[in-house]
Subunit: 367 residues, 2 copies
């Protein structure tokens, strides 16, 4: 069989894709128990979203309250949630206005839905911030069918002002989708304040969910008929997600991770404090700069690190020296070969590990 993966067991993992998706023991036990294909369908009532044993229906209700969304459905992932909205809300050939910091899957979903992308620019180097107020002007210029905001982007870890964009979209009467892949599940995202029409979430990115792909789509009442439209022939099946989406153990994983997610969002302030501590320490290393919002408001952060690039120019392992050195010290999650700049996530590590990780980087800078 495949070599076993021991990244979480044997290393401190800094990979931003992975830190919010670490599973809890409850999730691991539940996934193992529901591991076989279509296991959640033992008591199917015609749609995975309405299954009561295990209680997927109750889970969706609870997550709806948690997010402040009128209805929540399971999807295969965040991108599939975005696609479901785009194809339902926009006219063919229409426009999606998004922040330029968006994830690539936003563009791909729009392209598959036959839509054109328009952008709100960021503030440029070094912070690359999205100014919520820029949406107002761009909405007037572009007349989009849909506005998308990446709540926290995956490049800089900037936290955008979603409530302000929400207010602008309400005022302008444009449907608004919040990509909460890096926010909901880590921090409290309360749509009663943001007033987005749609929230797209990533289970495997930010809800401690293992066992395959899963996402969530929150939809407000105004758009339920349109976006949660049923197939004309099969009244149980939501058209935009091809009926049942996360039809395996991932649904049970989410069911079992949700209690821990509800708890952990309360610690978000501590996570941000830890992230800021780590960012500031890194800035003390010769020439290191933070690429993104400073003071930083999220565990995902990008650094410019000319010092490591200089070392790589004379080191016998070349660009791989940094990855290798970290690995020897028990730290993983950087892209192998990168030295000029890189991204890390401090999520869930706690101060003791972060202190150690910083010491490892400091040592590496002396090589």
């Amino acid at each position: 069989m495949t070599e076993l993966r021991v990244v979480e067991e044997d290393f401190i993992n800094l990979n931003p894709l992975q830190t919010g998706g670490r599973t809890t023991p409850d999730v691991r036990k539940a996934v193992n128990s529901f591991i076989d294909g279509y296991s959640v369908c033992d008591w199917c009532l015609g749609d995975v979203n309405t299954i009561k044993n295990p209680d997927i229906q109750g889970l969706r209700d609870d997550i709806g309250k948690f997010l402040g969304a009128d209805e929540v459905i399971l999807t295969n992932g965040c991108r599939e949630a975005k696609y479901a909205v785009m194809q339902a809300v926009c006219k063919k050939g229409g426009k999606v206005l998004a922040d330029v910091n968006r994830h690539y899957s936003t563009d791909v979903a729009a392209e598959l839905a036959g839509l054109k992308m328009e952008f709100v620019q960021n503030s440029g180097s070094p912070e690359f911030k999205i100014r919520a107020e820029d949406y107002a002007k761009r909405i007037d210029e572009v007349s989009p069918d849909l506005v998308l905001l990446t709540h926290v982007d995956g490049n800089y870890g900037n936290v955008a002002d979603a409530a302000k964009v929400g207010a602008i979209c309400r005022k302008k009467g444009v449907p608004f989708i919040l990509n909460a892949a890096y926010s909901a599940g880590r921090m409290l995202v309360d749509n009663k304040k943001i007033r987005a029409d749609f929230i797209a979430c990533s289970g495997h990115k930010s809800w401690a969910v293992g066992g395959g792909n899963i996402g969530l789509l929150g939809v407000n009442n105004d758009f339920k008929d349109k976006v949660l439209k049923r197939s004309s022939e099969y009244k149980n099946k939501i058209l935009g997600i091809l009926g049942c989406s996360a039809r395996g153990s991932s649904a049970v994983a989410l069911l079992n991770s949700f209690p821990s997610v509800k708890k952990r969002v309360k610690d978000w302030g501590k996570e941000v404090k830890n992230a800021q501590w780590f960012a500031n320490k890194m800035l003390s290393i010769n020439g290191v700069e933070l690429i993104g919002e400073n003071p930083h408001q999220h565990d995902l952060m990008q650094f410019s690190t000319p010092v490591f690039y200089e070392i790589s120019q004379k080191h016998k392992k070349k660009g791989y020296f940094l990855y290798k050195f970290l690995e020897e010290k028990g730290v993983r999650g950087l892209k192998a070969g990168r030295t000029k700049n890189f991204k890390v996530s401090t999520y869930g590590l706690g101060m003791e590990k972060l202190k150690y990780v910083f010491e490892v980087f400091r040592e590496a800078a002396k090589l």
Copy 2:
């Protein structure tokens, strides 16, 4: 946490959705090890399909050879594979010609792609067979953009003559997709003989894959440019599946189930023999009829069982008596409440268990 699922551990499971998706110990170990979100992406090269560690690229090559398809990609499931083909191959408002025994997800995928369904009828009661030759006439009548055949349908477990439909489609010059959800992974499906342009497979239905959703799409060279088209901006990302699909432990599950699948398809003859033995035994119970092909060629079968309906009319547990009786005897997988007719799958159970299951049904018929 959720109550643990013990269906496979404590019961003989006859649920047709589930028997081909039972995991092996290797799969369970691997999924557990790769359980965290985005675990397969440790060594991402820009697309989950090209990852070499774990060797998803090699797996796709091997499955391509196994299926006789020029290229195989991972999808979220069989329905998502069908949708990827339909939206790429058919013009908007075009027609899909399918067998009337098709799975509901065929219709839903066509509807989402903005297509109209046309049908090839079956032979009616009691066999409900699809006659491959009927496709020729219907193609002439309908001029479809795409022809779909459900290789083995999920209602009757009839095995259609895919090679004959393939030959007709080649002759008529119409693209042909084979829905192999209940065939590939159980029996050997060799597309060198069938000559379909596309094969859609269900990992969790027939490839012993746990850990979430996964499917496969086999594409022949003629259609690679169209169906595996990359996003215009992101050259690594296949547009029709929104870039990366099965981006979790399900990919590792398939990697570890495939060796057992390659082996088990060789035992398909024995599986069919066992299924026929069971079907014939059931027919010995008062009034029981097989709904579908007879002699039966697949482990999935449907019975008409007036005897159980009659018992339910006077039993204190009413329609639930049968489910309850089976459960007490350690047999699961029938829909609770059903007595007039039901579906079972004999897949992978072996003669000893099948003999026991038959005895349980015989006893139930005496209640």
